[in-house]
């Protein structure tokens, strides 16, 4: 199987190289009109077919690796290092992305899948798809070259083949780890598609904004995958690492967050291009940057440039990635300089206070946040280079710099939808902003009344202060978005006699993109409320002998047992804790500590009881070596569940935004035309 896998990768590389070269020649011939022994159209089609065949070849290689994992073929070094016989079947799939070579193969495979779909749907716009397909092939050539020459996944083990493998990293032996990396990779790799379309459209000086409409679904789906991937990673960190948090500003977490920020900026500013023909250069560079940031993230993970709990072992493939990024940047700059006249904006802004401006400021804040994170991630390297002194840039830096920027972004999330396109009047500002402002101050008063104190002992308490602002802004933004829904639904209700819920449904169907976007914003608001809850986390650590009790918040935990278990994969110790509230027993929690047999590495399995108000989060930290008694650390983490609920809402909102809006004809069929045309508010404007 190793030979089959290696051969498949070699064939895939040859096919991708043919796709790139033949496609590029064909497009050049088409552009110049030069005579050729073969018609450019036919040559381009052979290139496209080579791309499809390349997908089959890289799929065969991925299949070979998965087969080898399930067959316990420890003659392959990668399998020996990342699997073992007793590994459960679901985690054997995880072996595909648990190491450098496998994860690069996953990347190439996903790129192949995206390319396959793109090439199958080429009839939508043959020429543009041909350009995009060639650019995708260029990216694929790079990854397949790395897989064939720098990080071969089918390299054979030198010496006697061991009886069993080293096993999968215990951190990855968790259900979410079966889906978190593929989601993240689907997001990373997916941005290759809008990048390829943007670069291709610029190369061919594609007329109009159709390429944006074509890539919209790709971009949204990719963004959703990346969002999901990031939040699954957060949940995994929360449930497995056992430190009570979900985001540690680790360089690799940051690396996934940066393309998300620029991708989010692109999703917003691209609407300016579609509606107004503005920000064309900006959008092109946003998508270029997003793609380059996905590469940078991969570089950070693999080159050992920064220390991280996620980083793979230091290797030489960093040089490959740096070279590739330089080549991509050079191609982007060259293409842009050559064709920048094609990106001249059709219109200009009419007012500083308008929705167009709010998009500009939204982009400004998102990109500043991206810069802050990039700066913080790379500053240790810079510092070492400039003054020879490596420093740590951890959570305190980001909390002080990035959190205020995030809150400002939340503010814009509320303001943007309230501003009309083109221009606005003071009257409309007053009308639209009164209710959110009232809600903002009402929330501040309520928070203060229930005991949120943004100051302590004469000084401002950072966590509570940010939490107070977060709660207040969330209330204001939620009110602003809700009022948008109600205002539109009210008009429909008046016109058609439908009830308010039915009217909201119809309103959303009429403009799924706009109202789907609003649902996503509500999801963001809910996430912010969840994040703000972290300011009020409590924890209690205690050595618990049998029948000892630990009190935290409204709960009392009693140790009723401390036991051990084992299976073929790991040995485990766990505590049995009865949980009481108000003297009444509610349930039992069993926080666990495992030691995996193959690797000998320990792993925490946290017990979490989640209710809307808080999470009771219990960690079994092991036994005290002096007393042999279990040590339990319990956390009461307010509002954590809101974060995951917010993500679910973002998923729902994105799906809504992907559904086509009712066409005017269909909408007319569904709404009896009793009155004059609907108010401008329903159609995307306010005034």
């Amino acid at each position: 199987m190793a030979a089959f896998g290696s051969l498949s990768l070699l064939i895939a590389l040859a096919l991708a190289a043919y796709n790139l070269l033949a496609g590029a020649v064909a497009l050049r011939l088409l552009a110049t009109g030069q005579p050729a022994p073969i018609s450019p159209e036919r040559l381009a089609d052979t290139a496209r077919r080579a791309g499809i065949a390349g997908f089959v070849a890289v799929s065969a290689a991925a299949f070979a690796l998965i087969w080898s994992v399930f067959a316990d073929d420890f003659s392959i070094t990668y399998i020996m290092e990342h699997s073992n016989r007793a590994l459960p079947a679901a985690y054997k799939f995880s072996a595909l992305w648990s190491g450098q070579e496998g994860s690069l193969l996953l990347w190439a495979w996903l790129l192949g899948i995206y390319g396959f779909v793109l090439r199958l749907t080429h009839k939508r716009d043959v020429k543009l798809y041909a350009y995009a397909g060639v650019i995708m092939a260029g990216i694929q050539v790079f990854f397949l070259a790395v897989l064939n020459f720098a990080a071969p996944p089918f390299a054979l083990f030198r010496g006697a083949v061991p009886e069993d493998g080293n096993g999968l990293n215990p951190l990855l032996q968790y259900p979410e780890m079966v889906i978190h990396p593929p989601m993240l990779y689907l997001g990373y790799v997916g941005f290759s598609v809008p990048f390829a379309f943007a670069l291709g459209a610029l190369m061919m000086r594609y007329p109009g904004e159709k390429w944006i409409k074509i890539t919209r679904i790709w971009t949204l789906v990719t963004w959703l995958f990346l969002t999901f991937g990031i939040f699954l990673g957060m949940h995994w960190a929360y449930a497995v690492l056992g430190w009570g948090g979900y985001w540690g500003w680790d360089p690799v977490e940051n690396a996934s967050f940066m393309p998300w920020l620029t991708g989010t900026a692109f999703l917003h500013s691209v609407m300016m291009q579609e509606k107004k023909g503005m920000m064309k250069s900006w959008n092109v560079w946003l998508i270029f940057s997003t793609f380059l940031l996905t590469m940078l993230g991969t570089l950070l993970t693999r080159a050992g440039l920064v220390s991280s709990v996620h980083a793979f072992a230091q290797s030489t493939i960093g040089t490959w990635f740096v070279t590739f990024m330089i080549v991509v940047l050079a191609v982007c700059i060259f293409t842009y300089v050559l064709n920048r006249s094609h990106l001249k904006s059709d219109q200009q802004l009419e007012s500083l206070v308008s929705r167009e401006s709010s998009f500009l400021f939204n982009n400004l804040v998102l990109l500043t946040a991206c810069f802050v994170i990039l700066w913080g991630t790379l500053f240790p390297i810079l510092s070492e280079y400039v003054v020879g002194n490596k420093v740590t840039v951890g959570a305190p830096f980001y909390n002080r710099v990035a959190v205020p920027i995030g809150l400002f972004l939340l503010f814009l999330t509320g303001v943007g939808p309230l501003l009309p396109w083109r221009n606005t009047s003071l009257k409309s500002i007053k009308r639209n902003f009164v209710l959110p402002t009232v809600m903002l101050w009402a929330t501040v008063i309520v928070c203060l009344a229930v005991g949120v104190r943004p100051w302590k002992d004469g000084a401002v308490d950072q966590g509570s202060f940010y939490a107070l602002i977060g709660f207040a802004l969330s209330a204001a933004v939620f009110t602003a978005i809700l009022s948008e829904f109600l205002r539109g639904a009210g008009v429909i209700s008046k016109q058609t006699g439908r009830n308010i819920f039915s009217s909201i449904y119809l309103l959303t169907r009429r403009n799924t993109r706009r109202y789907g976007g609003y649902i996503i914003h509500i999801g963001v608001v809910i996430i912010v409320i969840g994040l703000a809850g972290a300011a009020f986390n409590r924890s209690q650590e205690q050595e618990l002998a049998l029948h000892d009790k630990l009190a935290i918040g409204p709960y009392v935990l009693e140790n009723v047992g401390f036991t051990e278990d084992s299976n073929l994969n790991y040995n485990s110790e766990y505590a049995q804790l009865d949980v009481y509230k108000g003297g009444k027993k509610l349930f039992q929690m069993t926080p666990e500590k495992r030691v995996y047999l193959a690797s000998g590495q320990p792993q925490t399995m946290v017990a979490i009881h989640s209710v809307p108000g808080w999470d009771l989060y219990v960690v079994y930290e092991g036994t005290n070596p002096d007393t042999q008694q279990p040590i339990i650390k319990a956390y009461l983490n307010p509002l954590v569940g809101w974060i995951w609920a917010g993500v679910a809402l973002i998923f729902f909102g994105t799906v809504v935004a992907l559904v086509p809006s009712l066409s005017p004809a269909t909408a007319a069929l569904r709404v009896p035309a009793r009155t004059a045309p609907a108010e401008p508010a329903l159609k995307g404007g306010h005034e």
Partner: protein, 166 residues
């Protein structure tokens, strides 16, 4: 009149932002318990776990226990925050500090994000103002005052604003 109202709106907004920024920079803790908690979140555990000292959760981690004991000793001795952080940096190296200091080259880490944000904000405002002024001048030159044309423009405005989108 309308312009001055707009400017007033933005000036007030800028004042509110400046006040918020000033408050953010004044954040800090005073009593010993809070200082202990604050400081152990400004230091890293040196065992290699890459965790904040106050959040290191390894049972029997000798590094975090030793560091926390040192922190308590320094606080009991009445040392101020800067001196305590300095002591840790001198003993364990600069990487023990969870964030760059505000001295020397480290200061660049703190200044750059705000400088970039301020420059980008200013640039955006100037760009928007230049665009809007250019637009108004063009509109003034056109001098469309005919009522029929105005009605037509209003109709076009309504219709072009109705094609969905955000």
């Amino acid at each position: 009149m309308r312009n001055s109202l707009h400017m007033g709106f933005w000036i007030k907004g800028a004042q509110a932002l400046a006040l918020a920024a000033a408050v953010c920079f004044s954040l800090g803790a005073t009593d010993t318990g809070s200082r202990y908690n604050d400081l152990n979140h400004r230091l890293m555990c040196t065992c290699g776990c890459a965790q904040i000292l106050g959040e290191c959760n390894h049972v029997g981690c000798t590094s975090s226990k030793q560091e926390l004991d040192e922190l308590r000793t320094y606080l009991a001795a009445g040392m101020n925050d800067q001196d305590i952080l300095g002591k840790f940096a001198a003993k364990y190296g600069a990487t023990v500090l969870a964030a760059p200091t505000t001295q020397g080259f480290d200061l660049v880490a703190w200044i750059a994000p705000f400088a970039v944000f301020a420059a980008a904000l200013l640039g955006t405002i100037l760009l928007v103002r230049r665009w809007t002024v250019g637009k108004k001048e063009a509109a003034a030159q056109a001098q469309i005052s005919d009522p029929a044309t105005k009605a037509l423009r209003e109709q076009i405005r309504r219709e072009t604003g109705a094609d969905g989108g955000y």
